[in-house]
């Protein structure tokens, strides 16, 4: 399946400015089958263990670099390199219309911390072609995952005019998301979603957020995808 979408989201975590950017859509699945439910915040993943209602496997997420000279509020903070987060996921469906999912990932690159995402979604088919879903979100991050983005050391404080801040890990954000998808025909599908999260703990207390940003982070996205068969002999 290939497709394209657009996402209006914060330029970087903790900012109060947002930007519209294109999002590629790509997935491989068995010919004729529909794609299993996927939340907008889910990392890329493969279910190596699949009991149907219980699935688990590796997961990976790409976190873009944060360039200080691209945003005036970051001047003096220095860059945070691109991070690849590698780990695993487990998801469980007590019934067909309710999914719970957990991810645990270790950062490599821009941060070297641990990130845990928890989510739950009620998935309601309104009619045959139209499905809506919604549910709560929660993220926990270790100190090593939080401090590169929200900590301000003495040198940075001098360069930015912000007070020094030692960002520790812990509960990172809580929020909710909702998605609607419409299947035009077996090949074409369109979808839209909104994800809101409120930063918590030291991420929310960082002067970068309290003085120059916002703890409220909202992402809105739309997309269209086309499924087709190909055969490898």
């Amino acid at each position: 399946m290939v497709g394209v979408g657009g996402e209006y989201k914060p330029d970087f975590e903790g900012t109060n400015r947002s930007m519209l950017s294109p999002v590629p859509i790509f997935s491989i699945r068995r010919a004729g089958s529909t794609e299993q439910f996927r939340g907008p915040r889910d990392s890329a993943s493969i279910a190596l263990i699949d009991f149907g209602d219980l699935r688990a496997g590796p997961a990976a997420k790409f976190v873009s670099s944060r360039k200080a000279n691209n945003y005036s509020e970051l001047n003096g903070l220095g860059d945070v390199k691109t991070t690849v987060e590698l780990g695993g996921f487990v998801e469980y469906y007590p019934v067909d219309w309710f999914r719970t999912r957990g991810e645990l990932r270790q950062g490599i690159g821009g941060h070297h911390g641990v990130v845990a995402d928890l989510s739950a979604d009620v998935i309601v088919p309104l009619i045959q072609r139209l499905t809506i879903s919604a549910g709560p979100r929660f993220t926990w991050e270790s100190t090593n995952a939080t401090s590169p983005y929200f900590g301000i050391d003495a040198v940075q404080a001098l360069a930015t005019g912000l007070p020094a801040f030692d960002a520790k890990g812990g509960a990172h954000s809580v929020g909710a998301g909702a998605q609607v998808s419409y299947r035009i025909n077996p090949q074409w599908e369109v979808h839209a979603y909104v994800e809101y999260e409120r930063l918590l703990g030291d991420a929310a207390k960082s002067p970068l957020v309290t003085l120059r940003g916002s703890p409220n982070q909202t992402t809105v996205g739309i997309g269209a995808s086309y499924a087709f068969d190909f055969k490898i002999r």
Binding site: A31, G32, Q36, R55, D96, P125, L126, I127, P186
Partner: protein
């Protein structure tokens, strides 16, 4: 020769080698099929029908299984495959332990399936008689996900999909076909029966169709339900010749 020329030459050699080996793989399959004269057909698809629910269901949505061996679906499959293949191959009757073939299940742990290889290979060697034919065509149950939920469906079944506004039923006959070399017992060709053109909106990776005249609540004893029997037999009949044709085993379209 400068370094960039050497690199270009090496790349060209690798590309040629990959292309030649890919062509060789295709040639091997076609060559093997051309050499096949006598075949035996094994079918282990239709011993049970599974009733399942998906979409917006109640809390108790366990699937139910009912025996339908009395329908003789496997005999029908062998008969129809024989008719389709007879122009090209000499189809010879074989006897086999059907229960052993239906008992094979994929592991839910994907790497286990990769490590243990195709479980039907050994059965063709040990549970089929006579041995010594050029090839054996093995038709067994296939699996598919259903809708956007976690539910997996398999083989012959009737699913009820619930939404807020409506609920409907869909019958399916999911199967896959393997062609085993009768001497080495390696797989020459394998394919899962594809969806039919009128498969409906909640697509399933195999032959299926929406069926409004049957509901699980009025089927009682599914084995005695002639409408259900006819619907499944129709799915098999319409999909089998197409799949054999797609595998280049029969030209019956």
């Amino acid at each position: 020769m400068c370094r960039s020329d050497r690199r270009a030459s090496f790349t060209a050699v690798v590309l040629v080698a990959v292309s030649v080996s890919a062509c060789a793989a295709f040639d091997t399959r076609d060559t093997k099929l051309q050499a096949v004269k006598t075949v035996g057909i094994i079918s282990a698809v239709g011993d049970e029908i599974i009733f399942a629910k998906g979409g917006l269901t109640g809390l108790n949505n366990r699937s139910q299984s009912f025996p339908i061996a009395s329908w003789g679906l496997d005999d029908l499959i062998v008969q129809q495959a024989t008719t389709a293949l007879n122009g090209r191959f000499q189809v010879q009757p074989v006897s086999y332990n059907r229960a052993a073939f239906t008992a094979i299940k994929d592991s839910p742990v994907a790497p286990v399936n990769l490590v243990r290889g195709d479980a039907f290979k050994k059965l063709v060697q040990t549970e089929v008689s006579p041995q010594g034919l050029d090839a054996y065509i093995v038709i067994t149950k296939a699996k598919s996900s259903f809708g956007s939920g976690p539910r997996k469906i398999e083989g012959i079944g009737l699913i009820t999909y619930g939404t807020v506004m409506e609920s409907y039923n869909q019958v399916h006959a999911l199967y896959e076909i393997r062609v085993f070399d009768g001497k080495t017992f390696e797989i020459i060709e394998k394919m899962t029966a594809p969806p039919l053109d009128d498969g409906g909106q909640v697509t399933i990776a195999g032959p299926s169709r929406r069926i409004d005249e049957i509901s699980p609540s009025d089927t009682g004893n599914p084995a005695a339900n002639e409408k259900l029997h006819a619907a499944i037999a129709d799915l098999v009949a319409r999909s089998l010749s197409t799949t054999l044709s797609d595998m280049h085993l029969a030209d019956v379209r």
